[in-house]
Point group: C2
Amino acid sequence: MKIGEFANQLGVSTDTLRYYEKHNLLTPSSRTEAGYRDYGEATLKQMKFILRAKNVGFSLAEIKELLQIKFKKHQHSCHEVKDLTIQKRDLVAERIAELTRFHQSLSVLADKCCGGQEPADNCSILTTLEDIDGLTQ
Amino acid sequence: MKIGEFANQLGVSTDTLRYYEKHNLLTPSSRTEAGYRDYGEATLKQMKFILRAKNVGFSLAEIKELLQIKFKKHQHSCHEVKDLTIQKRDLVAERIAELTRFHQSLSVLADKCCGGQEPADNCSILTTLEDIDGLTQ
DNA sequence: CTTGACCTTGGTGTGTACTCTAAGGTTTAT
DNA sequence: ATAAACCTTAGAGTACACACCAAGGTCAAG
Ligand SMILES: [Zn+2]
Ligand SMILES: [Zn+2]
Ligand SMILES: [Zn+2]
Ligand SMILES: [Zn+2]
């Protein structure tokens, strides 16, 4: 299968596939005589693995680690895999906590403002940002 | 006040201040004869505004908009300011939702894996990513 | 045999918020 | 007078995950 058809089947761009190849995430099985990339069953499975890993939030760098483990499963432990997963989960949790603080602060700000059409001279969003410390502390 | 002292007082780097200046977020009141940046009260207040806005999650681009409104309050309405705030809040909410899905999926994965020291040949994290569709659907 | 659709490589651009470097000028203290 | 500590500019580098481009080669259909 040439790159275009392969990309279509997976709903990604050919650029993405070349990018993944360049970054050692997915190498096509072989090349045709003309030098065209030739994708097969194995690459299809691997690409699906990558897309699923992306779907649960892993970055490409992390997926690369997962792939290396997957390639040589007997050289790695469950512990290692679970560790990667937990670390990622905790990182995501931290980010969620930060964004939740943002959301809370923004809600407080928005609730203070009347949102009317009059000039913003006394807008409480602006005055709060000007005057008050510790909005998020 | 020269840039170094100013930066120290605010807990940011001199690079950051020059960066903000380049991107029209904060211009020092004046320059000394030698061409050194000279920061005063007004810039201090404005920098605090910027830092507070950052603390509630606004990006520098959004802060720039807020500053432009702040400079000419009578030319802008409360509505405008509230709109910016609400838009940002909703964007943050979306991102939280996405990350929460990630967190959920990662938790499910982690729970499936024993995390032991044995080889990862049968690791359910890997087999799940290999085999199952619709982890997040 | 030419048109159009596909493929190749290498390189640049995007957005975010800085950080770092090079090469040099100024100020302050000793 | 000289060294340390500060300041200046312009420009490059970082991370992330691609998207886009130019210049050219290949392939199937009409
Ligand atoms: Zn109002
Ligand atoms: Zn208002
Ligand atoms: Zn196990
Ligand atoms: Zn496992």
